[in-house]
């Protein structure tokens, strides 16, 4: 269900609607395949997301920052924002963190 929903094209990923534990591995693979480029992640379709997929996204943020590329998550769905708020995670890249409001 989640695997085929993830679509990528030229450094852009649309996050699938259900990002549970099962979605973590495919999401990791998807992100790994896009290393070396700036990346935008569309979170508008997310209806459910758990800690494992946040770990993957946080790891991606770290990986991209180390490589000197930018990564941006945009159009967060309310489910995405709410889960991030509950977990207290912040997905901004380190160099921009002071300018961003994490919620």
């Amino acid at each position: 269900m989640s695997r085929e929903d993830i679509k990528s094209e030229d450094g852009r990923i649309i996050l699938t609607s259900v990002l549970d534990l099962r979605a973590a591995a495919p999401l990791t693979d998807e992100l790994l395949a896009l290393r070396g480029n700036d990346l935008v992640i569309d979170a508008s379709k997310v209806e459910r997301i758990g800690a494992p997929c946040f770990q993957v996204l946080l790891s991606a943020v770290k990986t991209w920052a180390v490589a000197g590329h930018t990564i941006a998550i945009f159009d967060e769905s309310s489910a995405f924002s709410e889960a991030a708020a509950h977990l207290g995670v912040c997905l901004s890249q380190p160099e921009t963190i002071e300018n961003e409001t994490c919620h």
Binding site: L21, A25, T28, A51, P52, S59, S81, E82, G88
Partner: protein, 727 residues
Amino acid sequence: MDSMADIKQTFFQECDDLLGELESGLLDMEGGDGDSETVAAIFRAVHSIKGGAGAFGLDNLVAFAHIFETTLDEVRADRLEATPDVLSVLLRSSDVLADLVRAAQNDEELGEEVTTGLVEELSAFVGEKAGAPDEAAAAGGEDISFAPLGTAIDLDDVFGDLDSVEESQRFIIKFRPMPELYANANETVLLMRNLAAMGEVNVACDESQIPTLDVLDPEGAYLSWTITVQTSNSEAELLEIFEFVEDDCTLEIKSEELPDDTIEPELADDETIPAEEEASHTDVEGGKDGVTSGDNTADKDNVVSLAEKKEKPTATAQASKEKDTSDATIRVNLGRIDRLVNLVGELVINQAMLTQGVFDAGLERGDSVEAGLEELKQLTREIQDSVMAIRAQPVKALFQRMSRIVREAARATEKSVHLVMEGEMTEVDKTVVERLADPLTHMIRNAVDHGLETSETRIANGKPAEGTVSLTAAHRSGRVVIEVCDDGAGINRERVRSIAIEKGLISEEDKLSDSDIDNLLFMPGFSTVSKVSNLSGRGVGMDVVKRAIQAVGGKISISSQPGKGSTFSISLPLTLAILDGMVVDVAEQTLVVPLTAIVETLKPMPSDIHDLGAGAKVISIRGEFIPIIDAGISMGYRTEPTDPLTGVVLSVETEDGARAAVIVDSIQDQRQVVIKSLEENYGHVDSVAAATILGDGRIALILDVDSIIDRGGSAVSFHENSLAATG
């Protein structure tokens, strides 16, 4: 504040989701895809329903959910193997649980006979463990904090105000999940949500252990949390939240009594606390309570306050209120949305009239009025898209209902059936989803009852004993296509034909193509079953299904292959309100052709037009020959065909890929039109999809391209004899 009824309503809404998860989990297990995570998830679903039901005193529901949950617990602990027999009982139990939820929602009581048989079957699986639900669960005490997920938040919202502030305590919770926590289908987000429901929560997440992607184990556990909870609940109640995960994490809860006036006034502010300030706040607390700063140093920037707008700075301000403001879902009376949809429709008509007025006034090109009008058009379109998005719903809930229909039909006919669903997240207008339930139910029953053969026949024909019914939804060229497909024997065309003759629907001399015979199924009064089965033969024929589909602007088609099965395909408009159309003139009438059907428009050259057989004509478009259809004749506006060279050719395509060249006299414009249903106001008319009101107030018909093409071959092409060859 929400009334109790509203909270109960929220519980039932959540039940819908949980029942959906339960059913899809069980179906995964049935399909061999279930793992320990699936079992844990379905266990939690039933457990959550039980907990919420206990809180509302729904004893019947609690009692049944308890035995159901106990059985699932046995499966979860590998003490009971999920054999097909066990799964069959579990699936039926999920159906009954859904019935009980529905009955509770409608304040109805279901008779004991509904559950008795299943309770016995479930009890047989679990032996002496099948006792009555424990008192705590029945009273809701054990489960409220954990089980009803969002409902627990609302309950606390209600009861929170009753809590006396002097009981307020601050707890520091250090929580570090292990990978097993996630592997067992538990989710930190839900734990945090339940914690947030207990009171005011500050969450500090330690992300320092997260590795880079190349060495990350996607199913590992790298995050840990330090959570400060200001609550009137006891430590034991906080511990209950972690009841299911305590073996899969390291957990430390420390408490500190706080007088009320020590609650920071800034928490009462509307603004979120600046990250730095908040981090130091957490450090101070950490120092007081012995939380080592090492855990927090990495998190300074990530400390998040879930405190939210408070009317007054009470100590028990609920994080759930934050949810009220940040959660994008609100429930709105459908009538209000419908009114909005209608108003947008009127807006589109009004905008068209305004455009016409501006045009008639003969303003110069580039005039500011024209520019303003263009902006108005854009805005209108955006409003329309937004309104339509409000009404769009995934077909998932509808599809899930169908899996039950398949199970019941399979049981009634003693056939073994496997249901495959695809595209459940495809979105369709809410009205369409609702009105599809009955026809789809009928089609699914038909597929099982009439479509699939018995297991014996299937084996004899070299097929697997288990029949497959697939239900798919997908977007295709601006419409939604839903297909019900079976791998049964296919339509017995000889039998259909003989029955049609017997019933006087056709005469023996009639020469019908395979497709014509298949379509006889949709004729009123046609039924291939001589005895009325208690399943699909309920006096409702496929003609009723067809009418129901047409009533929502849809079309139904059928295709069948002997021995391989049949496919019923429903094609639906995305919205029932507005479409993009090309406004054309035909024999001094104005027609609208849906833009989604038009591939291209062209002025043909004489060399492009060719005669074909008995007077029919085709046009050559880049080497492809496409039949020509005169819209004027198709619509009955004229009897003599127009010369293709004087008109404009619209190359159109149906959803199933059939193409035709529709000739019209001229093209006026391309614009949005408001759909006014003919079915609702008059009745179904062949070749006409609907009507609309144009900017000048006149009514124009919207062409049904599929129908025109279907009829085109016989009705139009063969009447074009009088037209001399032109190319």
